[in-house]
């Protein structure tokens, strides 16, 4: 296998804002800034694994509440019902909107679970210094980072339903406590994905014996 050298090993730093590559100064200053755009420079995102793990744990704690508590409370003249995320998907499927039911299922149930599982697994794989499937793991991270924001879909659907269905006394919709937890899970997993540094995946692969530090 061809050996690749990381910028970090070679004593270089890439600016995350303007992509300029600069040499790490000998003096080992604490506060390095990009000479072109002034962005603070770090060899790797600071405390990436710790931050990602903490945010993931917080998201996991809130996840059951987000799924079990009602997200909207709907009242019509004849009926009154609490809807959770899953019952919203089932209602969509029952009304015959299969593509929409699939879309909401994907954005609200599959993606949050996938994010928690993938980021948790990647964090663990870095702690264990895996050298296995570097390319695939990096691609998985990019996918999760890209798709993560779309989980907000359900929050917007509920916002919209609540704002629109205020046809007193015929029917009204109120938001339920589940939506707060759900929004929190989406925001926390987004922050977790942002604080994760994908270069750490590759560091295990480029650390060759006797070439560390």
């Amino acid at each position: 296998m061809k050996a690749f050298d990381s910028a970090a090993n070679a004593g270089f730093l890439r600016c995350p804002t303007c992509a300029l590559v600069s040499r790490v100064p000998e003096s080992r200053e604490r506060d390095l800034r990009c000479g072109r755009c002034g962005h603070p420079l770090h060899v790797r995102k600071p405390r990436s694994i710790e931050r990602t793990s903490a945010l993931l744990v917080a998201a996991c704690v809130l996840y059951p509440a987000a799924n079990l508590l009602p997200i909207v409370h709907m009242r019509t003249v004849t009926s009154e019902a609490d809807n959770t995320i899953m019952s919203g998907v089932v209602a969509l499927a029952d009304s015959g909107s299969w593509p929409l039911a699939a879309l909401v299922f994907f954005a609200s149930i599959f993606v949050p679970l996938l994010k928690l599982a993938v980021l948790g697994w990647l964090t663990l794989s870095i702690r264990l210094h895996w050298r296995w499937k570097l390319r695939e793991r990096a691609a998985l991270y990019r996918f999760v980072e890209f798709i993560g924001r779309w989980s907000m879909l359900d929050v917007f659907v509920d916002t919209f339903t609540v704002a629109l269905v205020q046809l007193q006394p015929l029917m009204s919709v109120k938001p339920g406590p589940g939506v707060v937890f759900f929004a929190a899970v989406v925001v926390l997993t987004m922050l977790a994905a942002m604080s994760f540094d994908p270069r750490l995946i590759w560091d295990a692969g480029s650390t060759r014996e006797g070439n560390h530090g």
């Binding site: 690749f4 804002t17 303007c18 590559v21 919209f160 339903t161 269905v165 205020q166 939506v179 929004a183």
Partner: protein, 212 residues
């Protein structure tokens, strides 16, 4: 100042040092190559993009996107009619309805992602691109690009539009729904801002910026 290339003179080959954002592999990129993008030798992610677009087109697109965004905020997104009752809602009205239902935290998240973040990102882009066209803001350039990068993932207008469409289909059985001009404006904003982002990625905001 302009550079004249005489016929037969080879274009100067220039190689620059780049590091991959995904795997940090240090490599040289031949920026004289005709390829639009150069990919990482190790993980295949784009490490260099040719930035030869003039900023004018990106600025025009951003101005158009700003107009659509303002209209999308001011005009009702949809109207609903059922049993002689009618209601309509704007973007900010939707957040207010959440606030009125004791969901202030979610209302703040909705307002932040659909109004505040896009508005700030548009302001950053307008300032950056006018600087690239006419100069004058070179000292703020780094701060503006950084602010824009921070705001980008928080701006969720396209997700909001999709969410509105899902809600409309959901409520379609219960009541008569009329799509408002606001929704069409937000749709226009989505398309224009995506096109503008595509152009901005290919515009050199750092070295090509002219000084007035």
């Amino acid at each position: 100042m302009s550079t004249h290339l005489s016929v037969g003179q080879p274009a100067p080959r220039r190689r620059i040092l780049v590091a991959c954002a995904s795997c940090d592999t240090l490599q040289t990129a031949d920026i004289a190559s005709p390829a639009e993008t150069l990919h990482c030798v190790r993980c295949d992610v784009v490490v260099y993009r040719a930035m030869h677009r003039a900023p004018d087109a990106a600025l025009a697109l951003t101005v158009a996107a700003t107009i659509c965004f303002l209209m999308g905020n001011a005009l009702p997104i949809v109207a609903i009619e059922a049993g002689g009752n009618a209601a309509n809602t704007t973007l900010i009205g939707a957040a207010q309805a959440l606030d009125a239902a004791d969901m202030r935290s979610v209302a703040v998240v909705v307002l932040l992602t659909t109004v505040v973040a896009p508005a700030l990102e548009l302001s950053c882009l307008l300032a950056l691109l006018s600087d690239a066209c006419w100069g004058g803001l070179s000292r703020l350039r780094g701060a503006l690009v950084r602010a824009r990068e921070r705001l980008r993932p928080l701006s969720m207008v396209e997700i909001f539009v999709l969410g509105a469409l899902v809600a409309i289909v959901k409520l379609g059985d219960l009541a008569k729904i009329v799509l408002g001009l606001g929704l069409w404006s937000l749709f226009g904003f989505m398309v224009l801002s995506a096109t503008a982002a595509f152009a901005i990625e290919r515009t050199d905001l750092w070295t090509r910026a002219r000084t007035a």
